[in-house]
């Protein structure tokens, strides 16, 4: 029979050991948090550095000037207009296609080798380095289809690049919709497409939007594939306007125009030896970070809200 004394002696030993183990727990949790925060710290340092360096260029002129040989007069006008137009093409090409593909895979595709094949492709495409998309575009769009080094080429390239993101997000948000909702719609005589269009897509729209924003944020910062298609980096003109004042008011000439985009402009300034251009690069970097962080933050907030509000 265990005596009180022996139990207590044993307990004292156990307590000392637990204290030691708990110290390990504490030390580890500090290290763990630091490891995770290293990225945040880096981003913070980077952003401060960009702002501190690029500060002299923060003015409206920087946004309304064309690039120039003189760093102090150079601006981002052609770059941000180019980015906007490229994004427009990317949006138009990737979103309908990606959503349609996601809908097909979730709602229509029979579960067989065929859907497996598509699924494997989507997963693999998400892991293909972005520069390989650049090579694809160089061979296919620039020379194969003769689109040249144009806004159309760049937009389509980035469209392909973010297609897996849109598809995966579409599928995930559709998957969250309970089968009962579909059954309810079928029960009142809706066809499959009506069920999908009126109900599934409607309820999944928030999640799809999240994916679209994340994809667009990715596209806006992508540099490597755009360089690879041979985008010019010194563009001192704007593409023709997409809208004209004579009928039919829509102009497609801009699609075949040469262009530059924000990250390319930054890369270009950054690869010059003259430090004055590094200041321009820093200011551009700060702008790119703000834009992408805002877009991603919106997406994350949106997803959080959807998760919170919708309880099936």
């Amino acid at each position: 029979m265990t005596t009180q004394a022996s139990v207590l002696a044993n307990l004292a030993e156990v307590r000392a050991m637990i204290r030691k183990h708990k110290r390990n727990d504490f030390i580890f949790s500090i290290i763990g948090l630091l490891a995770l925060m290293l990225g945040l710290l880096t981003l913070f340092t980077l952003f401060i550095d960009l702002v501190a360096t690029g500060y002299p260029r923060f003015s409206l002129d920087f946004l309304t000037n064309y690039p120039s040989r003189k760093a102090a007069h150079a601006g981002l006008l052609s770059a941000w207009v180019g980015s906007l137009l490229v994004m427009l093409v990317t949006f138009i090409s990737a979103v309908p296609m990606g959503v349609a593909a996601g809908v097909y895979l979730e709602e229509y595709a029979p579960k067989n080798w065929f859907s497996d094949l598509i699924e494997i492709n989507v997963t693999n495409l998400a892991g293909v380095p972005s520069i390989v998309y650049g090579l694809l575009a160089l061979g296919l769009f620039v020379y194969g289809l003769g689109f040249g080094e144009s806004i159309l080429t760049a937009g389509l390239t980035l469209g392909l690049l973010i297609l897996p993101i849109v598809i995966v997000n579409t599928r995930e948000s559709i998957r969250g919709i309970p089968i009962a909702i579909r059954e309810a719609a079928y029960a009142v005589g809706a066809t499959k497409w009506q069920v999908v269009f009126h109900h599934v897509l409607h309820y999944a729209s928030g999640g799809i939007l999240t994916g679209v924003i994340i994809g667009m944020a990715r596209a806006i910062g992508e540099t490597a594939p755009i360089i690879t298609i041979g985008a010019l980096t010194f563009i001192a003109f704007l593409p023709p306007s997409p809208v004209s004042d004579v009928a039919p008011f829509i102009n497609v000439e801009w699609l075949s125009s040469g262009f530059t985009v924000l990250p390319i402009q930054m890369f270009n300034w950054l690869s010059r030896p003259d430090h004055a251009f590094h200041i321009n690069a820093a200011a551009t970097g700060a702008l790119i970070i703000v834009v992408t962080l805002l877009m991603n933050a919106t997406a994350i907030w949106l997803r959080y809200r959807i998760r919170k509000n919708i309880k099936w």
Binding site: T2, R15, H21
Partner: protein
């Protein structure tokens, strides 16, 4: 309770328990566990018997927001193991547990049994070897696994896995062992072997077992407690509970009129 001859090993005193949802799962439970005896907890599902069992090794501490109110006092040292000053790890080193579903670790048979010793920092291979063998023998598993101690534990059958988990819990010489419906995931033959094992363990330590199976409680336990809706309805000798219950509710449950 006339036949009680054994000293009290642990007792709960007016124990209330609240889940983080606010649900009050235990309502003023006071009962004693007797040394080297088997106490069974029975009652319909949701009655709080598992919740009560899991208070004994502070398992509820793993999930934020759960709250104990009351005491569980261990003897002979009179420690209130629910006291916020008492580390749950200390409690778990004294009171081990066997779960509803066998949950071996993704390690070898040997390392599964040695786990508790490793956690306590035991490095001496001889000591570990001896303890592992002793625990496996105690769990009636030694003969079946002695030639493949370094095989993955997942390769064992369900009943063997559960006996392995018992060996794991035995290896550290606990004062009390908790069994949370230990046979509900097993076939009848494996169940019989676990029950036999529990009866043998009675000579070594104090056991608290939750079971949904009344015959099991009747077969293995010395004392039985009937719980309903978070309350302890009746606690007495197993024979008495099953032959001549003092409360109408207990009788209804035992005879299958309810539950």
């Amino acid at each position: 309770m006339a036949t009680i001859t054994s000293p009290v090993k642990a007792e709960s005193r007016d124990l209330n328990f609240y889940y983080s949802s606010g649900h009050k799962a235990l309502k003023g439970i006071s009962m004693a566990l007797y040394e080297k005896r088997i106490t069974a907890l029975i009652g319909p599902s949701g009655c709080g018997k598992s919740t009560f069992l899991r208070c004994f090794n502070r398992m509820h501490d793993l999930y934020p927001g759960n709250k104990y109110d009351g005491q569980i006092v261990m003897h002979p040292d009179n420690t209130n193991i629910l006291d916020s000053g008492v580390d749950p790890i200390e409690v778990r080193m004294r009171i081990s547990m066997v779960f509803q579903k066998p949950n071996p670790f993704p390690k070898s048979i040997y390392e599964n049994v040695a786990y508790g010793l490793r956690v306590r920092g035991e490095r001496n291979k001889r000591v570990v070897d001896d303890k592992v063998e002793e625990a496996l023998k105690g769990a009636a598993l030694w003969d079946e696994v002695k030639n493949r101690l370094h095989d993955l534990a997942f390769n064992l059958s369900g009943g063997q896995q559960q006996r392995l988990c018992i060996a794991r819990a035995l290896a550290t010489d606990p004062e009390i062992m908790l069994f949370d419906e230990p046979t509900s995931a097993l076939d009848p033959i494996a169940t019989a072997s676990i029950e036999e094992l529990m009866s043998e363990l009675r000579n070594k330590l104090t056991i608290l077992v939750v079971t949904h199976n009344m015959q099991q409680a009747a077969r293995v336990s010395d004392y039985t407690a009937y719980m309903y809706l978070g309350e302890l309805i009746e606690y007495d000798d197993t024979d008495k509970i099953f032959t001549n219950p003092g409360r109408k509710e207990t009788e209804d449950y035992i005879t299958g009129k309810f539950g």
